[in-house]
Every structure is written in C-alpha cells, then in structure tokens.
C-alpha cells in the first residue's frame, strides 16, 4: 500500500527537516520534467507530510522570531522594530503634534520622550478610540492619517504588524472606529473583490467584518438622505415606537409598503444594519406586516366610500326623477365615477377583512381536494352576473348585481392561487378586473339607449371572455401558453385583424360602432394581456392602459356628449389607476 511515507521513502516522522531532506532526495529522481505524474504524487505526499508535522516553524524561523518579536509581542512591548532605524528623530513635526495632543488629553506619556514616533502615534489613536464621544471623529481621522504617513510604515515588517494591530483595534472599537475604516481599508488595500485563498486565519474574518461594516455604513448613509426611497421608513424604524392611533393610521409617516421594502432589503443584503434600528419598533412593524391588516389608505377609502355610495344611490334615483339633460347625460357617468371607489374599497379592505378565515379554510380544503372547482365558482358568479345584466334595468336588480359582483370578487380573492416563489397575482387580478368591467358595463347599460338584442349579445360575449380569462388554468390557456411565441403572435395578430375587420364592417353597415366589435377588441386585449406573445420586454401595463383608452374612445363616441366625454375619461383613468394600485400594492 502506498502511503505518503512510502512515497517519500522515509518512516513516519514529525521532523520537518527530515521530510524536506527526503523530498529533496526523491525529487532528483522524480523530476517534474520527466515524470510529471510521479512528481505530483511526491509533491502531494510532501505537502501532506508537512501539514501533519504541524504548523511549527522550521528552526530558521524560530531564530528569526526570537530576534524580531512576533506580532503579539509587538503589541505588548513598547518597542516596535522600527525603533532601531529611528535613532533620533525627536524634532519631528508630526511627533510634536501628537505629543501636544496627548498632553491636552492630560496624558503625559513616557513614550513621548522616548522618540519612538510610531509607538506614540499608535498609543494616541488607541486613547482616542477608547473615548466614546462622537465629536472626536475629526481627531481620530487626523491621528490615523498621521500614523499612516509615518515613514516607518514603508518597512514591510512594521507595516504588517501595524496592519494586524489596526485590524484588531478597529474591530474591537466598532462604533467609535466607523470613520476610520475607509482610510485604513484603502491604505492596506483590504477588499473582498479578489479571491484570497491562502490561510489568513482570523485576520481574514476581521477584514471581512470591517469591509461589511463600511458597506453597512454607506447603506445607512444612503437611506438616511431625505431623497432616498427608504428615508421615511428608516426614520420611522430608527425611532422608538409611537402609539398606534387613528391619527397615525390615517396619516402614517411611512407607507406599509415602504417599511416592508426596507426591512426586506436589510434582511437580505445587510443584516447587520438591523442593529442600528430601534429593535422594539422593528418588532412591532414585523408583527404588523405579518398579518394582512389595514393600512392608512384602506381607511381613507372606507371613509370616501360612504359618500360615494350615497352619490351612487342618488344617481339612480335622480336618473328617474329628473327628466332634464343633465340627468340624461351625467347620470350613467356619475354612476361610473362613484362606483370606482366603492368597488375598489371593497376589493381592498372588505376582501382583506373577510379574507383571513375563508382563505385558511380554503387552503385546508385545497390541500386535500382538486382546486379548479373553486376557480370555476368565482367564474360562475360572473356568469350569473351577466345573465342578470340582460334583464331590463331596475334599481333592485342593480343592487343585486352589485352585491353579486362584490361576492364574486371576494370569492375569487379567497380562492386565488398565489404562486409561491414569484408572488405572481396576475391571473387573479385579471379575474377581478374582468368582473369589474362587466359590472361597469351593466351600469352604463342602465341608461344607454341600447337595443335589448345588442345588450344580450354584449353580455354573452363578455361572459365568454371572462370565463375564458378567469378560468386561466383551464386546458385552453395552457395549450395557448405551450405554443411557441411565433405561433402565439400569429394567432394574436389574426385576432386583432378579425376584430378590426369586424368593426369596420359593422361601422359601415350600422353607421355606429357596434358594441359587439368593441367587445371583441376588449376581449382581445384582456386575452393578450394574460399571455402576451412578444416577450416580457413589452410594457404590458401600457398596453392595457392604451387598450382601455381605446375602449373609452368608443364609449365616448357612443355617449355623444361633451360633458360626458370629460367625465367618462376621468372615470376610466381613475379606474385604471386603481387597478394598477391593486396590482402594485400586491406585488410589494
């Protein structure tokens, strides 16, 4: 059996010089030139043997150590090796400066007289760092600069000893030494951008600690700048917790999402920074973020929702009572505008409030049973909604439809499928969105001079579209998703072309844009938003928005009234903004 010792040709030993002799003797035969494989084995055996012999220095080194002193001794002894060459530099201006500074601190040190500048400078810095006051930063910087300028440091021995000393000192005195890390790092070239693979022991850990500390400080500096995105969250988190009142809820200093973003960033990138924040506040905020609670914005919406609802009801009422032009044109638009915050509020706060328990229950259920059923139930609500919308309008029916829509939206929220890794809510938001559009359509239809057949057609088309989009996990869409991008693009283009052709045809035949064509365009838009074929680079939300401006334009042509145009455009914008808000709020 070959062991490292048979390779070296000696008996097992801990004697380094015997190992070296054996290696040297074998090397003459096992030349790296002629026998590379043999050499590799020999070298490996040699290195292994040396490692086993322990990390004792060979005799020559021991002698040297006793002469020069180790790093530890350097720290203890008042005589660094540099003293030998610095025989009599007493009138050194740096030295005088340090001596002056030491004296003002009430410390007369025998070293000042000894003429050993480096030792004095080191002593000086240590004293400065031992004091807690922050106002000493300038003095500390000055002291370190003086120390690093000393000619003694050109000597590698001294430089290395000073480097180790400084590493330990800076690490031990971290809050006080903050300002000094940058200079020391640049001077000694500590950086984590190169691979350092030789054994560096504790020094490497200390170096890393300082480098990380410097980065933490830079991060802290950045987030405490008033212009920074995390500024408000940082201000809140670094203060002791304030009492949670209605006032602070309504006018919070930092938004929930801001605090969450900052905490996530700290946890992921700079865990040490958390020590700089107020631990109590952080704990409270973490608890608050852990439960889907109400943020200030929800309360605002709830407060606004009440008058909006009143306006909504008033609009229904007025629409019947006042036969004036105002009632004719503004009625549906008022309805439209007022219903936006209502829908939004219910989606945001109502659903979240009534969300925790049903969702837990659903989760429990979903773990044991196939899930799609629940998705279909959400879609089913939408179907019923559309079926109702074909009936002749009446206030009771309107209320019923609204209630049903809200339930549907709530249900879809509860049964949503949140993809674990990416936090992707799009499918579900799309369903809510579709439901909302349907609802609006129906409300608009209340006052529009539409034929009953057209309305039915419209409703059926929408139902189909929403079903298609809403049950996103059904086979058809999966097949669609499995298509190659080129195929998807082709189908999509075909669809758009068909819509355009259909619209043009209807335009020519009926001299008004048919709602059917319009709904086809809307359907295409909804559909393509879900799986847009041209890759992710395309700004999807922009397309969605553009699509709805198109919808708005068609709608406006149809309503043919100046004031209506303006109000409807505003309403649509608000609507779109709110859906965007739902989405971005979720993503955070």
């Amino acid at each position: 059996m070959t062991t490292i010792w048979t390779t070296l040709g000696i008996a097992r030993t801990g004697d380094r010089s015997a190992i070296r002799r054996a290696y040297a003797a074998r090397l003459k035969e096992t030349n790296p030139e002629d026998d590379p494989e043999g050499f590799k084995a020999l070298r490996e055996a040699y290195e292994m043997a040396l490692r086993q012999a322990g990390r004792h220095a060979p005799p020559t080194e021991v002698r040297v150590v006793s002469r020069e002193g180790t790093v530890a001794e350097l720290e203890a002894e008042p005589e660094p090796p540099a003293e030998k060459e610095q025989s009599a530099p007493v009138p050194d201006p740096d030295m005088l400066k340090i001596a002056e500074s030491l004296k003002t601190m009430g410390r007369t040190h025998s070293l000042v007289e000894s003429g050993n500048v480096l030792q004095v400078a080191r002593e000086h810095l240590e004293i400065l760092l031992r004091r807690d006051s922050e106002s000493d930063d300038q003095a500390r910087l000055e002291a370190l600069r003086l120390l690093l300028q000393l000619p003694d440091l050109e000597r590698i021995d001294t430089r290395n000893a000073t480097e180790v000393w400084l590493l330990r000192l800076l690490c031990a005195r971290i809050p006080q030494s903050d300002a000094l890390i940058g200079i020391a790092r640049r001077y000694f070239d500590w950086n984590d951008d190169t691979i350092e693979h030789r054994r560096r022991g504790d020094d490497a850990a200390l170096k890393n600690r300082l480098i990380e500390r410097e980065k933490d400080l830079a991060f802290l500096r950045r987030i405490s700048q008033p212009g920074s995105e995390h500024y408000r969250a940082f201000r809140v988190l670094s203060r002791p917790p304030t009492q949670d009142t209605w006032r602070t809820r309504l006018l919070p200093e930092a938004k929930l999402s801001e605090v969450r973003a900052l905490l996530v960033r700290i946890n992921v990138n700079r865990p040490q920074v958390e020590n700089e924040l107020n631990p109590q506040t952080v704990a409270l905020w973490e608890a608050r973020l852990a439960r889907p609670g109400l943020a200030g914005i929800h309360l605002w919406m709830a407060i606004l929702a009440a008058p909006c609802l009143a306006v909504l009801i008033l609009a229904f009422w007025l629409a019947d009572k006042i036969p004036s032009d105002l009632g004719q044109s503004a009625g549906p638009l008022l309805v439209l505008a007022a219903s936006v915050p209502v829908v939004w509020t219910v989606v945001r706060s109502g659903a979240i409030l009534a969300y925790i328990w049903p969702r837990k229950a659903w989760k429990r259920y979903a773990d044991t049973r196939p899930i799609p059923l629940f998705g279909f139930m959400g879609a089913g609500g939408v179907v019923i909604l559309f079926a109702l919308s074909t009936l002749p309008p009446s206030p009771i029916l309107g209320t019923l439809v609204i209630a049903l829509a809200l339930v549907t939206i709530w249900w879809s929220l509860v049964t949503e499928e949140l993809e674990e890794s990416s936090g992707n809510w799009t499918w579900h938001v799309r369903l809510v969105f579709a439901g909302g559009v349907a609802l609006l359509w129906w409300l608009v239809g209340l006052r529009s001079p539409m034929e009953s057949e057209t309305k039915t057609m419209l409703s059926i088309a929408f139902t189909a579209g929403v079903l298609f989009v809403g049950c996103g996990r059904c086979r058809a869409l999966r097949a669609w998703a499995s298509l190659k991008p080129r195929g998807r693009a082709a189908i999509f283009m075909g669809l758009i072309a068909a819509c355009a052709a259909g619209s043009a045809g209807l335009w020519l035949s009926t001299d008004s844009v048919s709602p059917a064509a319009f709904c086809l365009v809307a359907l295409a838009l909804l559909f393509h938003q879900w799986t847009f074929p041209f890759g992710k680079a395309w700004p999807m939300s922009a397309i969605g928005r553009t699509g709805f401006y198109v919808v708005a334009a068609v709608f406006l042509k149809w309503s043919s009234d100046g004031a209506g145009v303006a109000i409807a455009a505003t309403a649509l914008t608000v609507w779109l903004g709110s859906t965007w808000f739902v989405r971005s709020g979720r993503a955070a």
Binding site: R20, A24, P32, E154
Partner: protein, 567 residues
C-alpha cells in the same frame, strides 16, 4: 546545444551552458546586450539591435521598440510598407540572437529556452513561444524571468539553506518571486507581479512632464505624434539613465529645427515617480503573503532588470526590507545566464545532476459559478478557483460542482484566469459544456479537473459520474497562426533581406552619428556633420583596419559630445 535567451522589453541577451558554467554570448558589436529594436534601413534591409535603436528618433516610422509590451495582442506595428505583429518583431530579435550564438559557438542552434515575465498570462506565453518558432527555434521551455535570475544567483549558493526574494523590474514588466533553496532544491515559493509596469513607464513620466513643460511649442498634428513621441522617449531614456548616477539631468530634444531643453533634478523625478513606486509595493506584499514568509526570513533581496538601477527604486526596496539589496548578480545579465542554466538542466548536463527546480503557476485558474442568494435569487458570474495561484507545478486539482436548476440539461463552464471574485474582471481562456440528465437542482455532481503542466499548458477534464460522460479540453492557441500559415510567416521572415552581421558595427556607429547630428544644433551639428563625412570616406576605402580605427575614434568623439553610449 540549447541556448538560453532573455527576450527583454528594452534589451535581450543570449547565453549558453558550457563546461559547467553559464556564459553570455556577445553580439557582432562585442556587446553582451542587444537592444530589442527592429528597423528597416533606407536600403530596405532589416536592422536589429543597436543600429535600429539609434535610428529610433531619426526614423520613427521605420523603427519598432518595446514591442514586448504588446505581446499576446493583435496590435500591429508598421515598418515601412509592411505591418508586423509583436511576435514577428520578437522573432526578428530572436533570429538575430540565434545568428550571434551560431557564430560564437560555431555550430547550428535549433533549440532554446526563452524567458518570460512570471506574470505573463497564458496568451502572452503562447505568443512568445510562437515568436521562437517563427525564428526557427524549437522552444524547449519558457522560464519565468525571476526564476531564471534566481537560478543564476542560486547556482552559486546551493550549499546554504536560504530564502531570497527576486525583485525584477525590467523595461516593461515587473515580477517578484520568492525562492527557497534547500538540499539542492531550488523551489519557487511565490511569483507575483504587474505585467504593465517597467522602465518604459518611468520614461513616459519624463515624456509627459516635457510635453507639459512645452505645451504650446510641442503641439503637433496627429500624424506627427508618433515621431515626436519617439524623439521624446529616446531623450527621456537618456535622461533617466543619467539620473541614476547624477543629481540632475537635462532632457534635450530638437523638434522641427528648434531645440528644447529642460533640466530635471533627482527630486523632480522622485516626485513624478511616486505613483509608480506605490505600484511596486503590492506585488511584494502579495508574494510574501502567498509564500507565508516574513521579510525578516529572507536572507537576500536580489535586484534584477535594468530599471532597478534607478536610485528611487533601490531606496524603496531598502526601506521596505530595512536592508540593502544584494549586488551579487548583474541585473542585466542574470536572466540570460539563468536561462542558460535551465538549458543545461534540460540537456541533463552532468554538472547540474544534483539540482532540481520547481516553479509555480503565478495566477489562479478556475471556472465561473453561480450562487444562490439568501433571498432566493441567483448571483451568476462568480469565480471559483480550482488551481490557486502559486501552487507548485505540474499540478492537477479537482473540484465538484452541482446543478443549479431543476431539470437542467447541460452544465457550462467558462474557464478563467485571474484573481477577481467576478469573472468579468478575469481573462476568459476557453469554454466547455457537458450534458447532464435532467434532475432536481443540486442532484447532479460534475467533477471538474484542471491540470497545469510544466510548460504552462492547461488541460480541463469535466466528468459526470452518474452518466460516465466525459469532456476534455486542452487550452490551445486560438489566435495564433496554424500549420501552413505559420510556415508561410516563417518563410516571409526568412526572406527579409538582413543587414550583413559583420557590417553591423559600422551601421550602428553611422546611425548614432546621424542621430547626434539631429540632436544638436549650430556648431555642434556642423562638427558632427564633418565627422560623418570623414567616416563615410573611410568606409568607401574598404580597409578593415582603417575602418575599425576610424569607428573607435568616432565613438570616442561622440561620447565626448553627448556622454557615453548606453545599452
């Protein structure tokens, strides 16, 4: 017979191991050093060495110097009508050295050991090897310059157990090596360096100071930049050498019939050089760190390379180690002598039986990897070293990696050389891919084995144990010409009409005189013109003895005019 060649940035030298010792081979001028300069004479003949260098400032478009700095790059230099790559120019110098050796040894020479800076990258080494082949030399071995210098130094100090540091600041590169000698083993413990730092950079300091001083007067058109730069550089080199011995030196140039002069004191120069001096420190510290040796353990600091003659460099070294560096070796000749020792080792010379040399790989070699961050994202493009720098070569090292994605079907390795944690800052050498069976992330292990052989050849072997799939790759010379092309280039170089060797001395003297003529104005110029006329008439007489005498006289006269000539 294998010769040892020191192919330097400024000067080159050739030596041979004979009768138990290394000896330098003089060139046709009797000098041990041959300037690494190549030029085209007015007659279209190829000039190499001193004659070419003397024409640098008078014929900038027909002369190339310091081309070693561009070794391994595609940069071409135009000489007359043809463009040459750095390796072609180096091949011309090598060809001349080969001819010198053949003349001296009286036998054909076909094999050589060539030195390269330790910190030369893989590409730069391959280019050097190619240059040797172009010159018709079989390159038996590329030796690191500091290792060669250490061989020249250590061969006489084999008895003691010692460690020493070789500080090699040449014309274009800077190397630091730490070596240990024990029991007849010369072991390189660490090599570091900076392959873009050398005497030329110090010249550039003076050049830019001069340009700054005469900003308005020396404003020139872009097509004249090169010519002006060559004039300034030649003058800066002269001034810098003078500053090594004198307290001040003046830099004199003549540009467009006008003389410009500025005197630099040694202090001025030290001030200018501070930033470059700072760059000398880092490699020294790294070598000490990597070899795990303290400065106090070193028995000697050996200075090699012409640029270490600068007092500011010597002073820095003295301060760093708190002692005076060794004068045991001639900084200009040590590398060539060491190359000859290596040649002797290679040819199994009896006198070198009891010596073994081991060298290291001066840079880390590894592959790129991705890492999963705590937040679940991937950080790609990180460097994972497999062969770490300063490991004794030849060496094989293996590392096991695993797949990163579920169902991953292929593992791709980029092979890099460098020290940065991000591969984007390292040098991409090659790439290799291997298919793996699709499994969950982390379930497939891929073994990656690197082998670095004594000639610096890198082999990569990737193996998937679960399927037995294996891919091997030898990092070959991708840029260089292959087969026929190499043969064609060699033929083209051989076809160049070379200035006759025996007339070199006269050509160099003439070139120097012509340069002096342009360097001076007024009376001095007239005087030099007169001398040139006399020398030319004697050359026409074709009496060798008379010519030799006249040449010596001319050189003396020129020495008195501008100070001694230097190499």
């Amino acid at each position: 017979m294998i010769i040892g060649i020191d192919l330097g940035t400024t000067n080159s030298a050739v030596a041979v191991w004979r009768d138990g010792k290394a000896e330098l081979i003089p060139n046709s001028l009797g000098h041990m050093l041959t300037p690494s300069a190549v030029g085209i004479d007015d007659t279209g003949e190829l000039l190499v060495g001193l004659a070419a260098r003397e024409r640098q400032s008078t014929h900038p478009h027909l002369t190339a110097t310091a081309f070693k700095r561009y070794m391994g790059t595609a940069r071409k230099t135009r000489l007359g009508k043809t463009e040459y790559t750095p390796e072609q120019l180096s091949a011309m110098v090598l060809g001349r050295l080969k001819a010198d050796a053949e003349a001296y040894l009286g036998e054909p020479v076909t094999e050589a050991v060539i030195t390269v800076p330790a910190y030369f990258s893989d590409k730069q080494r391959k280019a050097t090897r190619r240059a040797g082949e172009l010159a018709g030399l079989k390159v038996e071995r590329l030796v690191n310059e500091p290792t060669a210098a250490a061989l020249a130094y250590g061969i006489h100090n084999l008895a003691d157990e010692s460690r020493f540091l070789v500080f090699d600041l040449g014309g274009g590169t800077f190397d630091v090596s730490i070596l240990e000698i024990f029991e007849g083993v010369i072991e390189v413990r660490a090599s570091t360096g900076d392959n873009r730092l050398g005497g030329e950079d110090f010249n550039e300091l003076l050049v830019s100071a001069m340009r700054h001083r005469f900003e308005k007067e020396l404003k020139s058109k872009p097509d004249e930049w090169d010519a002006l730069h060559q004039v300034l550089r030649a003058s800066a080199e002269r001034a810098r050498r003078l500053l090594s011995t004198e307290g001040s030196a003046s830099m004199d140039i003549v540009w467009k019939g006008k003389a410009y002069s500025h005197t630099f004191t040694a202090q001025d120069f030290d001030g200018l050089a501070a930033a470059l001096i700072e760059r000398l420190k880092e490699p020294v510290l790294r070598a000490l760190r990597d070899s795990d040796i303290r400065p106090s353990d070193l028995s000697e600091i050996v200075l090699v390379g012409g640029a270490t003659r600068m007092p500011v460099v010597r002073r820095t070294v003295t301060r760093m180690f708190d002692r005076f560096p060794s004068h045991a070796v001639n900084p200009d000749e040590a590398v060539a002598l060491g190359a000859a020792v290596q040649a002797g080792l290679k040819s199994r010379d009896a006198a070198l039986r009891e010596i073994a040399v081991t060298d290291v790989c001066p840079y880390s070699l590894g592959v790129d990897v991705a890492e999963r961050r705590p937040d679940g994202g991937l950080t790609a493009g990180l460097f994972s070293p497999i062969i770490e720098r300063n490991i004794v070569v030849p060496v094989s090292r293996q590392r096991v990696f695993s797949t990163m994605h579920d169902g991953q079907e292929v593992v791709h390795f980029g092979i890099y050389q460098g020290e940065s944690r991000h591969v984007s800052d390292n040098i991409l050498l090659s790439e290799i891919s291997i298919p793996v069976p699709p499994r969950p992330a982390g379930h497939i292990a891929v073994e990656c084995r690197f082998t670095y052989d004594i000639n610096g050849l890198i082999e990569v072997d990737v193996h998937v144990p679960i399927t037995g799939e294996r891919r091997e790759l030898v990092i070959v010379d991708e840029d260089g010409p292959k087969g026929d092309d190499l043969e064609r280039q060699r033929a083209a170089l051989a076809a160049l009409k070379v200035h006759p060797r025996e007339l070199d001395a006269n050509r160099a003297a003439m070139a120097r005189a012509n340069r002096c003529y342009e360097d001076f104005l007024g009376d001095k110029r007239a005087l030099v013109g007169q001398w040139i006329g006399q020398f030319e008439s004697i050359l026409e007489g074709q009496d060798p003895r008379q010519i030799d005498h006249a040449r010596t006289e001319l050189m003396k006269a020129l020495d008195s005019l501008e100070g001694e000539s230097f190499l």
